[in-house]
Symmetry: C2
Subunit: 239 residues, 2 copies
DNA sequence: GTATTCAATGTTGCATACACGTTTCTTAAC
DNA sequence: GTTAAGAAACGTGTATGCAACATTGAATAC
């Protein structure tokens, strides 16, 4: 086993544990590990050239973040993102985003500079021929994250980030159709403009519709895909 | 070291790991471990008669749940529940609870039976001389959890449960004044009644006010207490 | 007395060993 | 051929050992 890389630890934040976490998370989020597959600590450890200990810690973290669920007899398996669950997460997303946008408190200042920057970034994207699919999902997440962050509630923004991360695997289906990307950019710009113009309730309405649209598109696309993914019989695959 | 209790493991869900988790969580939530105190794995392990491994897993879980934060040089310390952070969590709570209550979808059925049960349980409490302080916090949490669960979004209810758990340590201050308990019971009943009578927007208004009231009371009480807790100089205490 | 070096101690992160339960495969009986 | 029993391989949960830092305190130089 390779022990040469054990030069700087303890103070180091990119420990074997967090490396394993990142790697595993990527594998799961990218869909490389089939849904329902059982994860075996030893094999993962070999694959990543670490011992079982950091792998266990990574598994624990991913479980806490709802990317894995406990296998009935110990161990973990990749969580099954049912349509129903995704619907519920979209619902949470709406709750958090709309609440962040509204923020009716009188003595609260929105991060105007951040919003102006956000607007510029998305104006630069106009047309949207540059980005596609999976890449655009991240851009989209970024928009919603920054919009929420401008509301000055870091904890809420953080919660939202986590929810979006859980939705991410199915969100790629939202932008399969090129028309959706263009529409998204347009809607995003309209929303920022409205917020900047202090037309909050109008912005909220647009944002609500925007999220609902996305949800509808995703749900229809996902229903079929999920069935296929599950029917492949890879549930019993082991990693 | 006691190894006699290692009779049934693997299938067993109450492993040493989860035992350590529960114990540590209780210690932290009860305020037995001072805010900012550094947690030392070895000592905790001795205290709980297990090895460092389950303790590490417990620490990891509590960190994921925001009860602990990473010490600058490795290790963990009890998180500092600043007034600002509590305010943000209360804000998230409002967002989730109000969203759950509103649920304007046309084809959505609320769990009426659950609500009727909830109403009965709280009618039985009328007067409220029975419960006090810390005990009542749990009852209160239970009410809000069940109210949210009746909205038929388990994921949202779960998120809310976690947020409430993070607020819990400071919420005990809400019910120091006996009058607050009576008022809470009254408001809870009014809210359930309104929901059952399908006066949703009225219920939402009441719930919003209810949460805001609680927040105000808690904030004022907590501001002082937190200062005291922090000034004791127990930050450097080690567990 | 103050500063500096260096040893001693403490603490974490990781690897590994082991115990116990589970699953699977083999073998024998019918 | 099917079934039952036993053995072997497997996988997880836990304990423990060790290396790499960090920290503290003592000894020495000035």
């Amino acid at each position: 086993m390779d022990t040469s890389s054990r030069t700087d630890l303890y103070t180091d934040s990119n420990t074997a544990s967090s490396t394993a976490y990142q790697a595993l998370k990527t594998l799961v989020l990218m869909g490389d590990v089939p849904i329902g597959a059982r994860l075996r600590e030893e094999r993962l450890a070999e694959r990543m050239n670490v011992s079982r200990t950091p792998v266990r810690e990574a598994l624990l973290r991913l479980h806490a973040e709802h990317f894995l669920e406990r296998h009935s007899e110990g161990g973990y398996r990749v969580i099954n993102p049912s349509v129903q669950k995704m619907r519920e997460l979209y619902d949470i997303r709406r709750a958090l985003e709309l609440h962040a946008l509204r923020r009716s408190d009188p003595h609260f200042v929105r991060d105007r500079d951040g919003l102006l920057e956000l607007r510029e970034d998305w104006r630069a994207l106009d047309g949207g021929e540059s980005a596609i699919d999976a890449e655009f999902v991240l851009l989209d997440e970024d928009f919603h994250r920054r919009l929420a962050e401008s509301a000055g509630n870091p904890q809420l923004a953080e919660q939202l980030r986590k929810v979006n991360e859980r939705i991410r695997p199915v969100r790629s289906h939202d932008f399969m159709n090129p028309g959706r990307i263009a529409a998204t950019i347009e809607q995003h710009l309209a929303i920022v403009e409205a917020v900047l113009a202090r037309k909050t309730s109008q912005a909220a309405t647009m944002l609500d519709r925007h999220i609902c649209e996305s949800q509808t598109v995703v749900e229809q696309a996902v229903a079929n895909v999920l069935e296929r993914m599950l029917s492949v019989g890879e549930r019993d695959a082991s990693w």
